[in-house]
Every structure is written in C-alpha cells, then in structure tokens.
Amino acid sequence: MGRKRWKKWVTGYMYLLPSIIFLCAFTVFPVFASFYISLTQWTLIKPPEFIGLENYKNLFDDPTFYRTLWHTAYYTFGSVPLSIILSLLLAVAMNQKIKGITIFRSMYFLPVISTWVAVAIIWRWIYNPQFGLLNAFLKIFGIPPQNWLGEPKLAMPSVIITSVWKGLGYNMILFLAGLQNISENYYEAAKIDGASKWAQFRYITIPLISPTTFFVLITSIISSFQVFGPIYTMTNGGPVGSTEVLIFYLFQNGFRWYKMGYASSIAWVLFLIIFIFTLIQYFSSKRWVHYGA
C-alpha cells in the first residue's frame, strides 16, 4: 500500500474511532444479545431457554403478526410521502425573506414541541363525531358526519393525518437547512431565462434538495416502521385493533406476556424488512440524489 493510501486509511478510521468505541460498548452486545434471545424462550423472570428457530416458525403462522405488520406498513406508506411533500412545500414557503417569517416558522414548529398528550386531546376533539370541528366543517359541504377514530376503516388515516400534522415543522426545518445550500445563482439564472416559479421548483429545488430528501425518506421510513407513541395516545390500538402496530405487539410479547424470545424474533424480522427497504433506497439513490450543489 502506498504511504498516501495508508495515511488516508488511518485518518478515516481515526475520525470514526469515537463512534466505533461507542458502538462496541453500547450497541454491539445488545444487538447480538437480542438475536440470541430470539432463539430462546424467555419469561424475563426465569433464565432463557434455547429453542432454536421455533419463534420464527411460530411467527410465520401468526395472524396478529401479519395484521400488525400490515397496519405498520399502512401507517408508514401513508404518512411518509405525505409528510415529505407537505414539509418541502412548507419549507419553500418559509424560506421567503418576508417580514415576520420567523414567527411563522416558529408557529409551525410548535406542534413538534407540544406534548402528545395535548395534541391527542385536541385532535380527539377535532375528530369527535358529535361536536368535533372536522364534522362541523364537512357539514358545510354536505358531507355526513363520520366517526373518525371510532370506525376501524377511518381510524388509521385519522391517526396518520394527526401524526403528519405534528411532524410537519420537524421536516420543514430539515428542508429549510437544505434549501440554504442551494445557491441563489441558480434561481437568478433561471429567472433571467424566464423560467416560472414552478419550473424553478421542479428543475432546481427538487434535484438540489435531494440529499436532504434522501435523508428524510430513509429516517422517516425507519422510524415509522417503529412507530409507537402517536398511536397509543390517540387510539390505544383500537378500535377493534385496527391501529395496532408491530412495535406494540413486540412490546406486549416482551414485557406483558412473558415472551421476550418471541418479541426478539419479531424485532429481527422487522429489522430484515427495514434493512431491505433501506438498501433498495440506498442503491437507487445513485439515480436521483445529486450532491455537490
């Protein structure tokens, strides 16, 4: 190896060293331990008992697993695209140099910092079939009142809307940061060429914000597949289990039903699913992500 190349090697790993130490100390053991646990039966009270792949076999035949997995996928693919599109548009709007825009930006961030308890109470009131705001509003257009959180078919979409609403400010900030990286020159050149605002958005903003979009896409999918809190404050998994998600099923098995081994097997199947999705996104990103604005 050339001296220069070796130097690059060492430099790279030196910068990675702190993170490697942390990962080795705090992550590697729990991750491998959780895999071992998935091969056992463990009540937490008595020591684990090795049973090989039995948990995975049972998981394969478990209707609740498929049901909660479906609900989780529904939640993820319902909320992530909506969130990305809306928060990008919001960020573009909030990027204008208008007086008082700081106040606007701060207001859009308020739901992010408000507690889920408060958000759930307000939205449950909005969704209330008798006197909620939403049905009152729809009445104007002649739409009959719906039971948003009480009707199994409507419950998950309602939770998705609330969840997207609460998270808008968060992704807005990320996109705002990304927009700062796009040089004004591009927009000026486009204006001179007579490009419309929409064309500027389509051919300048979208490609040049793609590194941020990539980040938001991957991290949103990873976290949505593991969603827990929002659902449980709004519907507690109901009505009739129509909003039960995988992580809660995992949690119940591990910490309520004395089946930590089974819970770990659920975790590893979920991991596999998320990992494959991430790999697909990562490799397809070469096509649409442009670095170096």
């Binding site: 463990w42 009540t43 937490l44 009270i45 008595k46 759930a120 109470i121 449950r124 009131w125 209330n128 079939p129 008798q130 006197f131 039971n147 959180l149 009480g150 199994p152 109901g238 009505p239 009739v240 289990g241 119940q252 910490f255 309520r256 039903w257 004395y258 930590m260």
Partner: protein, 426 residues
Amino acid sequence: MKRVFSGVLLVLFIMVSIGSIGYGAEKITLKFFHYLRAQEQQVMISALESFMKKYPNIEIKYEFVPESDYITKILTLLAAGEAPDVIGLKDLMIPDFALQGVLTDLDPIFKAKKGSINPMQWISPMRKHLTYRGKIYTVPEQFSPQVLYGNKKLFKDTGIEPTPQIFENLTWEGLIPLGQKLTRDTNGDGKIDVFAFGGVGGRYDDRSAIIWNYGGQLMDPNFTRWTLDTPQVAKAYQVLLDMIHKYHIIPTPEESAGVDLFSIEKMALVYSNRYNGPYYATFSWANERMFIAKAPKGPVNDRNRTSCRVMGIVSTTKHPEEAWKLICYLTNEEGFQLQAKSGRTLPWRADQVNKKFLEPWMLPFENADVYLNAISRWHGGVLPPNSDVCRKLTIDAWDAMVLKKIGVKEGLKKLNDDLNKAIKGW
C-alpha cells in the same frame, strides 16, 4: 515518624470502630418498589421515613414508577437480578408472579406469628381472595368495592329525588327505566347531552359483578378454566349492550371519547369506587351535589366486585424479616393510618369494617353505610394467570360487541376459547 504514623492508624481504627458501633448491628438496605401517583408518594414517603426512625438499622431505598411502566421495569429488574425486596402490586398480578416464583409464600410467616398482620383478622372474603392455589402471597394495601357515584342536580332536573330508597333494591335492569328518565337532550339540538350511567369497563374483573348477579361465573373456583360461554353470562352482557344500543342510557365510546362526562356534569351516575375519591373531590360541584349510593344487583344475587392493591415480599430477597416488618408497618400500623387519611381505601380488617371506624374518614359527599354495604356484598374476585393477555382479550371482545362487529353469543364463545388457550399450561 513511625510514632505519628501508628498514632494516626490508631485514631482511624478507633473512629471506624465507633462508627460501626454507632450503626448498631449492620445496616440493612431494603429496596421498596411501587407505582404511586405523585399525590400518593408524599404520604408513602412520610410513612417510610417514620418507619426508618422506628427501625434505625433498616434503610429503605424506595423507587416509584408510573403505573403504565411498572411491570416493564420490574421485569427488567428481575431479568437483571436487581430485584427489589418489597413490591406493591395490583391483585390481578398475583397469579403471574406467584406461579413464576417471584413472590414469597407468607404462610410460614403467619404461622410463626411474626409482625402485626394476621389474616384471621381480615374479613373472610379477603382471605379467600388472596389465597391463590392454597397459599397467601400478599397482604392488602388498598381496597374499595364498587358503589355508584351520582350527581344530585341531574336527578332533580328530571324531577327525581335521589333518595337511598331508589337504590335500595335497584337491579341492573331496573336501571333502565330510571336511566331513560335521566338521559336527555338538554338543548334541543337532537343530540343527547346528558347520560344516565357509565363506568363499566370491558376488562374481565370490571365485568365480574354483573356476570355473578345473573348467575354466571367467570372461571371455575381454582381459576384454571374460563366459563364465559353460558347463557347467564350472555344475558349479563346483553343487558349492558342494551343500555348502550337499545336504550342509550350509556354513551357509546365515541360519545364519551377523551372526556370524563361525569366530571363535566353530563352523566348522572357512574359505577366506581373509593380509589377515585380524591379525583372526585376535585370537582367543583362535588361537595354540593355529589352523592354515593349502592351498586345495582341482579336477579340471582347482589355480589359486588373490587380490585385491590397488595404488597408482597420478592422471593430473591436477602432480608425477609425486615421486608415483613416494612409491609406490616405500611399496610397495618402507622403507615396504614397515613394511607387512610389520603382517602382512597376502605378497611379490610373485620374489627375495622364498622361505622364507628369508617365515619371519621368520610368526605362530605360520602356515606359510611353505603361503603359498608359494598364491602359486605364482596365475596372475592377472579384471578386468572397470564392476566394481561386475558385483559386484552376481554376488552377487545367487548369493544367488538359494542361496535356490533360480533354478536354476544358468538363473541363470548370465541372469547372463552381464546381465554382458555391463553391460560393453558399456567
């Protein structure tokens, strides 16, 4: 130099000796683990502190965890070998912990007549209730059978005077015509704003009273088999469902979603117990207009339900004697007095279940006779193993029936099968 050095050593040695004498015998540390709300913690902490004054060689390291995360944490501690010595527990958890060896059998302690607690002093239903598969693993800490809490104004507004006579022989089905008078649309917008009744939950023990009152049983006497798929249980369920769907005296889940209708004076009666007493006392209208009354009964009997909180010794403890001292203190001695002042429990010792003992505890809207009646109607509860799975199954089944996704007979048959599958092997 040598002299100074040995002089210092001597002084140090004397200091250490005096220090350890000052501690008396070894100081023992007990870990106490419980799930108390913020308001309850203060009372408990003062009880713990006066315990430590009484027993200076015992140090209590206490930890309180929010109720919703209690079991998660205790299982984590057990898995890591960091178990506490004394734990507070909901009675429903007794089977899970007893069958897995977490709790110490207390019978040897009772036999040896150590400490101040004697189960023979308890009312016999409590003895029966806490004897699980022949052994007693816990002692009571809080106890409050069901009564009705009501709103005088909502009665008087419909011309009914809420006298005790109304509730004296009130049956579940008798609640229906009463409820129909109390349920109304107060502002003429076509929607009902005031409901008659609420507070009957979907969990198996929430449902137990009405099932017994119609002659049904939830489980066999040893709690090894569920018996919900009988016509009696179906009738009990149907009566409640009719109250929601047919007569609409109980609000549907959407109508009561996220709001405590009783607190905002939109519900005339609620099926509840003294555990919620301090909460009800915070209502602005409580002192003027709240009252309590006897819970309804059924055609077969008037058996009542309760859930209670208990305390036990964890089997891995190294100090069972001290742990027992703590439990006696907190649930039976000075600690109990402090707890009783907080107003959430009723007594369970036969010598305390009487008007003379109870009367001084009563808040303005409470009534000792009603509580005594509630206690006398309680004959013990239902304690299945794998309690959280059972809880979820019974709640889901009830929700499905309320949403009319499944009929009562079919639903109960399926529920019973699922429940029996859940407790198989325990």
